[in-house]
Amino acid sequence: MDDRRFLGYAPLRMTGTEFLQQLINGLSLGAFYALIALGYTMVYGVLRFINFAHGDVFMIGAFCGYYLSPRLLPHFTGWMTPLGPISVLVLTMLICALLGITIEKIAYRPLRSRPKLTVLITAIGVSLFLEYGGQFVFGADPKSFPELMPDRALEGTGALTITTTQLAAFIVTISLLVALTFIVKRTRLGMAMRALSNNATAAALMGVNIDTVVSFTFGLGSALAGAGGILFALSYPSIDPLMGLLPGIKAFVAAVLGGIGNIPGAAVGGIVLGVVETFVGGSAFSTYRDAIAFALLIIILLFRPTGIFGRAQIEKV
């Protein structure tokens, strides 16, 4: 796509510090992939279909941050300053959740009993609509994302560079992961989600309201994607309406890598992909960086289509 995330050329042989540095960069890239991959995996778990438009919700998240920050941040001064970025993040997540629920209601729900391919084509349509509708509304030229917080290198890390945004991305990602695990494992809606993903027919017979659960899943996944959009834009502050395409597809690869439908798998898959990509990007093969995710996807699907944590499903007649 571009060289925005190009992390510099380094020979294949690297020193210990360089290795650690690349690992840190890879982990922070992986955190974004993980956040997006969770949305893919949850929707797949519940509805068994790939929400192609998910990467574009991520883009909308970044644009929400772009438009909200100048309006919200000035209201938070003094001791309240740290609350500014948090309010931007929370509001963005809400907007993205609403967007996800709306998309599902308008485009996917009427097609739910139709063949999966019909829904996939619709999802491609929605994705294109968000991308190019976004170009229409926001303009096609890249915009520079405002600084939500001071971006500087942390001290006391020796030769390694860890920036404050990287640290913030880690913290936000981990807290969202914990929150998500809590929702899925401990709440009634989470239990309904798991029931639906296990067996939709049985869940419906047990009185699970499928529409509510599906809406909730879309909302949850889209909120995570929105948060991912903001964090991504903090680290790579040039945003444009087509920015969601490649991270979206790569996050899908991450979801498949971890075993689609499996929530911890998506997080692990995202991090693995981020690390692998960063190491390839830092090697002599850096120009092939964007092809790596696809090559990885094809290899997994050929040799272990269920991913790292997935279980095999048998097609019954």
């Binding site: 519940v46 509805l47 068994r48 279909f49 790939i50 485009a107 009427p110 097609l111 739910r112 009993s113 139709r114 063949p115 999966k116 391919l117 019909t118 829904v119 996939l120 084509i121 619709t122 491609i124 349509g125 929605v126 994705s127 294109l128 609509f129 991308e131 190019y132 509708g133 170009q135 229409f136 639906l196 296990n198 067996n199 939709a200 027919t201 419906a204 499928i210 599906v214 395409l245 597809i249 899908f252 498949v256 120009t287 092939y288 964007d290 092809a291 995710a293 696809f294 090559a295 996807l297 094809i298 699907l301 050929l302 289509p305 499903q313 048998i314 097609e315 019954k316 007649v317």
Partner: protein, 346 residues
């Protein structure tokens, strides 16, 4: 069958007509000529993709990748190796025709090798997974071309001879239609439809589903490669970004709009969509239209996306497609017909 020979006559008529039209093409405004040639290329692309997506039910999103291979291989051969060829055969009408046929077929063959490579994962994948993998293949092809300096890398490849005429374009389109229709209508070709309608049942009656899928990919890729060659020798300049995901989507829309598994419908959709998109260029210049309409007309992808969503919601079988027997979905996913409840569970 009563109409057995009609296909051959149509093929012959198509080729003769395109030769006649080509003879008079000097009289046509070159802008219109270009559009008519693009229509022919799009017909070839859409009909060949229809063999994969429509008749065999394997959803491919990487057709532009095959087209790119055909375009680059044929352009490279005709540009870098034509001097030796013309030295040996002289420069005349027949040697140019021979060279052009040669490079088109070479482009098609290399593309069909790629089709074989993509077809192999399709043995294990279905539906949306396959769609993403083919999309990935298309992107990998594009990245590879971008990294190949011999054909200009990201700068594109220019200075290609302008060999494509109405004759070549429409002969190829006629041959593609003939091959696809005859193949699917033949006893052997019924297997494609069987693979689409129910893979498990097809296997149970002894149909080699693997072979049919790979055949569809190889043949579809071959014609896409030839179409790419025609395209390269028509525009005389090609660029890797001209064969991106958006181009693949354009071809997919033609197939879906026409109706998956209907060659006539897909041909019609290719003509309609090409003309419509050209017409939009004019619409965006009409001063009397409100600004917002003109801006939407400029952004063709918004229109694609709305067409896709509306079609799927209102008429998923396309303009001319027929819904298959009750209960069997268009895409032929065996799983989804058994559960009537929202999600198809295993």
């Amino acid at each position: 069958m009563k109409y057995r020979h009609i296909k051959k006559w149509i093929l012959l008529a198509g080729i003769v007509l395109s030769a006649v039209a080509s003879h008079f093409s000097g009289a046509i405004n070159s802008y219109y000529l270009q559009i008519v040639i693009f229509i022919g290329i799009n017909i070839t692309l859409a009909v060949s993709l229809n063999l994969i997506n429509g008749y065999t039910g394997q959803f491919s999103l990487g057709h532009a990748g095959f087209m790119a291979i055909g375009a680059y291989v044929s352009a490279y051969l005709s540009t870098e190796h034509s001097t030796a060829f013309f030295k040996a055969f002289g420069t005349n009408f027949f040697s140019i025709a021979l060279l052009f046929i040669g490079v088109l077929i070479a482009g098609g063959l290399v593309a069909s090798v790629a089709g074989f490579i993509v077809g192999v994962p399709s043995l294990r994948l279905k539906g949306d997974y396959l769609a993403i993998v083919t999309l990935g293949f298309g992107e990998i092809i594009r990245v590879l071309i971008q990294n190949t300096d011999a054909v200009g890398g990201p700068r594109g490849y220019s200075g290609i001879a302008s060999y494509t005429t109405l004759f070549w374009t429409y002969s190829v389109a006629a041959i593609t239609i003939y091959v696809v229709v005859s193949l699917v209508d033949s006893t052997y070709g019924r297997g494609f439809l069987t693979v689409r309608d129910d893979e498990v049942a097809a296997e149970a009656v002894g149909i080699n589903t693997t072979r049919y899928k790979v055949t569809a990919f190889v043949l579809g890729a071959f014609f896409a490669g030839v179409a790419g060659g025609l395209y390269a020798h028509s525009t005389t300049y090609i660029n890797p970004s001209g064969f991106d995901f958006q181009r693949s989507i354009e071809i997919v829309i033609m197939v879906i709009l026409g109706g998956m598994g209907s060659t006539a419908g897909v041909t019609f959709a290719a003509i309609l969509l090409t003309l419509l998109l050209e017409y939009l260029r004019f619409v965006s210049g009409y001063e009397w239209l409100p600004e917002i309409v003109r801006r939407i007309a400029q952004n063709r992808v918004i229109i694609y996306s709305l067409v896709l969503i509306a079609l799927m919601l209102l008429r998923p079988q396309g303009l001319f497609g027929r819904l298959p027997r009750r209960g069997i979905p268009v895409g032929g996913m065996a799983a989804s017909r058994r559960t009537k409840l929202p999600a198809a569970s295993a």
